[in-house]
Symmetry: C2
Subunit: 391 residues, 2 copies
């Protein structure tokens, strides 16, 4: 196990009707003038935004609204938010939505407190030193941004998708009411579930040895997702399925299951180019890329993939040929993704084989990093696995 620091000071407020206490939490964390940041349709349509506004009105908390955050949130919206905050003396950002809204809110929170261009944090090694406090009302279990230290933004000019992070941008509080996710269509639910599983798998596939506690914690989240995701898709109003998925999503990415081990985020990075170029859902891109990436790297540590196959996917260990078990686990993962309605190859997300050189050109993979360091040829092979994937 490697040395690590773990600091997760977010207050999680979980359960039915918890959004009713939104004003209390904003006050607790010293918000007096709030930017309410949200997406486009669902928060408005469901009436959630109206309820949030009413809570703030009742508590006499001053606020401004900034909606219209798109999936794969854009730098243009961030600049808009920074200006609003500066011009109006905003001291707290309330994100009502999912990962895109929260990531956008995090970017605004950094940008407001920085003299230069906020994109510096995403495009260089520049360290985050200050940020406005943010709070969250979560509406989809997926990105884990409600408890994480990271944020991903897409620069419209060139559709470059980049990330940054710091403990400083972890939300002060996150209100997690599983009821708010019951209206999600099956496809979005499955995309979210895929993202959650990817966050765990990218920690699980590691070269760090002797990490039994975090291995087991990772497996715990995956096993939960395998049980609860099909149930939430079949019974969208099942509170318990939604609740288990929601807490799994937070635990998957606040890093409690990933401390003390190297992760490998190359498949997230490879996917970002897909969703950046085709604007497909991030989870859908991951469903296409992750098994394809695993097929490329699994021989590097067959016993790790065999462990995953046996402990998580219920494969029987082939003691004569562990490689077969390792491979079987990857195929079961792909089958599972397909069974919850996810695409598994290029064609199913409208991606084109001919675009692969362009995708490779743009990709931001760091050289020499990860479970298996990837060069451009490797990335080509992974994209080709994704072109050819079938079940």
């Amino acid at each position: 196990m490697n040395n690590f620091n773990f600091y997760s000071p977010t207050e999680f407020v979980f359960g039915r009707k918890t959004e009713n206490s939104i004003a209390d939490y904003i006050k607790k964390y010293n918000g007096t003038k709030v930017l309410v940041h949200y997406g486009s349709k669902s928060a408005v349509k469901s009436g959630l935004l109206d309820r949030v506004k009413k809570s703030l009105d009742n508590a006499e908390i001053d606020y401004m609204l900034l909606g219209g955050v798109l999936p794969n949130p854009r730098d243009t919206k961030v600049y808009e938010g920074i200006n609003i905050c500066r011009e109006n003396g905003i001291d707290f950002i309330l994100c009502v939505g999912g990962g895109s809204v929260i990531d956008s809110g995090k970017a605004i929170s950094i940008g407001v407190e920085y003299d230069g261009d906020f994109w510096d944090f995403y495009s260089t090694d520049k360290k985050i030193e200050k940020a406005l406090p943010i709070g969250v009302v979560l509406t989809i279990a997926a990105a884990g941004s409600e408890g994480s230290d990271s944020t991903v933004i897409t620069k419209e000019d060139g559709m470059l998708k980049r990330s940054t992070g710091s403990d400083i941008i972890r939300p002060k509080f996150a209100i997690l009411n599983p009821e708010l996710t019951m209206t999600l269509p099956a496809y979005q639910t499955a995309c979210g579930a895929t993202d959650i599983m990817a966050h765990v798998l990218e920690r699980y596939i590691t070269n760090t040895k002797e990490v039994e506690i975090t291995d087991r914690l990772c497996e715990a989240v995956l096993l939960t997702m395998i049980k609860e995701t099909p149930r939430a898709i079949k019974e969208p109003d099942n509170y318990h399925a939604r609740a288990n998925i929601m807490w799994a999503g937070t635990v998957a990415h606040n890093d409690i299951v990933g401390v003390g081990r190297e992760g490998d985020w190359n498949s997230h990075t490879i996917e970002h180019e897909l969703s950046g170029l085709y604007d497909c859902a991030h989870g859908a891109g991951l469903a296409v890329i992750m098994p394809s990436w695993m097929e490329f790297v699994y021989k590097h540590d067959i016993m790790r993939f065999a462990q995953l196959a046996v402990r998580v996917w219920g494969c029987e260990m082939n003691f004569q040929n562990p490689e077969l078990t390792a491979y079987e686990g990857i195929q079961r993962f792909r089958h599972f993704l397909s069974s919850i309605g996810m695409p598994i190859n290029f064609e199913q997300i409208g991606a084109k084989k001919e675009d692969i050189p362009l995708l490779i050109e743009k990709q931001g993979i760091s050289d020499g990093w990860g479970f298996v360091p990837l060069d451009k040829d490797a990335v080509y092979q992974i994209y080709m696995n994704a072109v050819n994937a079938k079940i």
Copy 2:
């Protein structure tokens, strides 16, 4: 799953040599005049205390020393600490030790900021509203107090052992260096491991339904302890075994694996009277009580205990008679405890059957509470199970 709040703002600093940065963390959390609180022998003998003092000296941080905390820490030492803090304007408490030292430090931190008798918080429902900040250098993986919101103190007059808790008393930081636990004798290592497993099991055995994510996370910690504890006992210097146990111990009790579900802390309470009266190690008392308690309650929910038996203890499910599987899991637990050198019955901790009426008289179990609410007859039966236990 029940509604819950989870707030764990402790900064965990984990790994080799991390205690060298102690002064930095005290400064980060605004400590200027520190009470260094510790036990009796090991912190001194190992040279750790000298290294801590040297770090504070080098950083020119003013401090006073208060050692001599006993296992099952006493109210008398707490009063002493409160006086020292008040008389010397102490603004930060650094606990160098295990659960006893940290629990004592937490009690002092509450007492300093309270006009009345600190025991009020332990003996009544009085709510903790303020406490001095505390930091930890952990020397044994066991109590989980380095990340928990709770503290247990024994009142010498009558040897009453009582607890209290609040998010306010969670340590600001906890330095966790597994190397510091390598000098622990096998018996103490096993006592600590038993305490860790008890913390998980007391969350696991619940009447709350639909808690797959926390069930799985609990199982993850237990599986890790089953693998790593015998290794740490056999190879005391095995860093990896110590590291996995250390993080398991923190995760077991900072409540990340127990949120949204009722626990049952009756066996901890029943044990407290044992270690209170006989001054045996808390972990040893738990090893005697927990399986005996399980034997008394398991028929209340056979499938829960069968799940534990299958998923954690590797029992094969008896589909014709799940009760046998459930019971087999409890026996495997007791065998495991015995295999790591723990006592499993009254005789082995020097407890006497004749004292049972006295133990029952003193016990602080709340009526009508827990997985199976216990009355005095029930507690009598559990103690009798512990008298008669054998493998």
